[in-house]
């Protein structure tokens, strides 16, 4: 299974948002911890001051006055009691908050005062003997402290630290006073505003990243399309050299490459044309010289060689001309054209069947298209007798399929046989007299009509040439 998205757009979006979320989580954690510590400094200092003031006041009062004062001051969020026994710290609490608070208290109470601090974020609810009396089942515990509180509470406590302080201080006469301070909910609550900001940030960065990535990947797909089209039409209009600098440079490089390719092809064609063309006069002269020979068997051999040379020259020139559009486009009755092909095959003693009709005349170059189909039909007749042409006429395109019942060709060769002068081994050996240009010419003509020509092996044997022409 692939976890990575296939498209560049998907990948970049994934990396950007993934990275962003991780970075946000880290910064949120750091931010929250900072906030936590700052809160302890502020609130802890305040609480320590208050506890110290109350302790100093209680020191000066007698038992009855203490009780009156304790009753008056025993109000949430600061509760205090004089009735709880001193409970020894079960273990040394070295947590940051505890140490900090202990230091703050020591500063306020003086170094010789005996006190102990317990800070919990997780108030156990089962009542215990040494627990403050207000934390019993019959007194309403602060909200969220019930058993079975929602699971997110644990994370809440873990992330936001500890909010429940229990401080016991020995008074001057040995009595024990117990404070319980619960930090107010709003101080400890999820920093909703912070999370909202982070969320807005994440969303806007996401949208912007998607837009930016799209803007970046769009020129890439344009370039890919252009390169694919170049294979079919070397003279496609050049790319627009607009957009960001890098895109402009890529488009420029692409256009330059296209120009060079065109120039290269033109050079190649010019050379082939010049050679073929210049051969015509010497061949003509040789033909005349041959006619002047007296030895008639020799004359015939010369003529056969000259015929072959002439055919090669002519097909080379036909190939070079096959992509040109010297012939004007006209609406053509293709049924008549197919009948012509059938008749020509009949004259040569071979049979071509035609299946289906063309409903409307097609705009095309008649002579070129005839040459294209003639090449396909004569190939089919050469390699697999019993040829049928199937017509499928649809509103947007016309498909002509020329099928033979010969041996077909290996799948690996289906594309290669379109290359100029490429011939299959079997074709070479059989001396079928092909030039190796027939299919190249046919495909060039198909392309010049905005169409496509492919070969495929028919599942039940034989080769199919499929010519698709746009309407």
């Amino acid at each position: 299974m692939r976890l990575l998205p296939q498209s560049l757009l998907g990948r970049l979006t994934l990396f950007l948002t993934g990275g962003l979320i991780i970075a946000q989580l880290f910064s949120a954690a750091i931010l929250l911890q900072d906030r936590d510590q700052a809160l302890y400094h502020a609130i802890g200092g305040h609480v320590a001051q208050r506890i110290a003031a109350i302790v100093k006041l209680l020191d000066t009062l007698d038992e009855i006055e203490r009780r009156q004062l304790a009753a008056a001051l025993d109000l949430p969020p600061t509760r205090l009691s004089l009735d709880l026994p001193w409970s020894d710290e079960s273990m040394t609490d070295e947590r940051y908050q505890t140490t900090l608070f202990r230091t703050l208290l020591r500063r306020q109470l003086g170094s010789d005062r005996l006190f102990q601090v317990e800070i919990t974020g997780d108030l156990p609810s089962p009542p215990q003997a040494n627990r403050p009396p207000w934390v019993t089942p019959d007194t309403p515990a602060p909200r969220h402290y019930e058993t079975g509180r929602p699971p997110h509470w644990r994370m809440h406590a873990m992330m936001l630290g500890l909010r429940n302080f229990v401080v016991q201080v020995r008074l001057i006469d040995g009595a024990t006073v117990t404070f319980q301070q619960v930090l107010p909910e709003e101080v400890i609550a999820w920093p909703a505003r912070l999370l909202l900001i982070l969320l807005v940030l994440l969303l806007s960065v996401l949208v912007l990243a998607a837009l930016a990535v799209r803007a970046l990947t769009h020129p890439l797909s344009v370039l890919a399309d252009a390169a694919a089209e170049l294979g079919r039409d070397i003279r496609r209009p050049p790319l627009a050299e607009t957009g960001p600098l890098e895109v402009q440079q890529a488009a420029q490089a692409f256009n330059t490459m296209q120009e060079r390719l065109i120039r290269y092809l033109e050079d190649r064609n010019r050379i082939l044309a010049a050679v073929s063309h210049d051969l015509k006069t010497p061949i003509t002269r040789l033909r005349l010289r041959t006619e002047l020979l007296d030895d008639s068997p020799l004359q015939e051999k010369f003529q056969a060689d000259l015929d072959e040379m002439q055919r090669m020259v002519q097909t080379s020139l036909d190939f070079l001309r096959s992509g040109e559009d010297s012939e004007p486009m006209a609406r053509v009755d293709l049924n008549a054209l197919l009948d012509c092909l059938r008749e020509e095959a009949e004259d040569a003693g071979q049979e071509v069947r035609i299946d289906g009709v063309v409903h409307q005349p097609l705009r095309c170059r008649l002579l070129a298209l005839k040459r294209c189909l003639t090449n396909l039909v004569s190939n089919a007749l050469t390699y697999g007798q019993d040829v049928e042409i199937t017509v499928a006429d649809r509103p947007d395109r016309l498909t002509l399929t020329v099928r033979d019942h010969g041996p077909g060709i290996p799948n690996a060769e289906l594309e290669r046989v379109f290359e100029p002068f490429y011939r299959l081994e079997s074709s070479r050996n059989r001396d079928t007299g092909g030039s190796g240009l027939g299919l190249s010419i046919a495909r060039n003509i198909a392309h010049a009509h905005g169409g496509e020509l492919i070969l495929r092996n028919h599942p039940t044997g034989g080769l199919e040439a499929v010519l698709e022409l746009p309407r």
Binding site: K280, R285, E343
Partner: protein, 236 residues
């Protein structure tokens, strides 16, 4: 008296070989390299036919051909190394009587020369081959064997359809029986119950969009044969 041919070609060895070959075949031959010597040569002695190369230094064959046609009716055969169909059509448009692409078979050139000369010597004053025939809104292009329908749709004709239509077009409003048509199109006699001409006529009618039950162009004359009913205007 031997016919006098004038060869205009810039390739000296081709001129020589051509002169040699045509001389052996009973012609009197002179040759020049380009258009500059052409008018002088024509004034010097009478010429029966000009073999004109299309690609010449200075004025090319097409220009010379047009200028020649403006002055005289001397038959012209064009030679060219280009040889695509548009060149051929342009050459014929410029007034050449025939056209042969290089490299040609010398015997074919000989046959063309004889054909063109025969037509030129025809005492009836045969204007030569028609380039196209117009009839009832239709046009038959001889050079490409294409039929152009009244709605400008191009219809390519097979060899037998073309031959049959040519017979009707060259002799309009004449009834042809099956034997005659078979002889002219295929050079053979009709076998008993031979329907092949009827099939060809029905194919031609389909090309001409002629309803066989109510044929407007090619009518069936019962027990006699077929008849093209519309007037034909050949264009030379």
């Amino acid at each position: 008296m031997n016919d006098h041919l004038l060869i205009v070609d810039d390739d000296p060895s081709l001129r020589e070989l051509l002169g040699d070959y045509l001389g052996r075949n009973g012609f009197r031959v002179s040759s020049i390299a380009d258009g500059r010597g052409l008018w002088a040569a024509l004034e010097r002695e009478s010429v029966d036919l000009i073999i004109l190369d299309l690609m010449l230094p200075g004025d090319d064959g097409l220009v010379l051909c047009r200028n020649l046609r403006a002055r005289s009716r001397i038959p012209i055969i064009m030679l060219t190394a280009r040889g695509d169909d548009t060149d051929r059509i342009v050459g014929l448009e410029m007034g050449a009587d025939d056209y042969l692409p290089k490299p040609f078979n010398p015997r074919e050139l000989l046959a063309r020369i004889k054909g063109v000369l025969r037509r030129a010597h025809d005492p009836v004053g045969n204007p030569g081959e028609a380039k196209r025939f117009h009839f009832a809104g239709w046009t038959l292009e001889v050079a490409t064997r294409q039929l152009i329908a009244p709605d400008r749709v191009l219809i390519p004709l097979g060899a037998s359809e073309y031959r049959l239509l040519r017979i009707f077009l060259e002799h309009p409003q004449r009834v042809w029986n099956r034997d005659q048509l078979l002889d002219l199109t295929q050079g053979r006699e009709a076998m008993p119950f031979d329907r092949s001409i009827d099939m060809q006529v029905s194919r031609l009618r389909r090309r001409l969009r002629d309803d066989p039950r109510e044929a407007a162009l090619i009518k069936t004359i019962r027990n006699e044969g077929y008849l093209l009913t519309v007037p034909v205007h050949p264009e030379y």
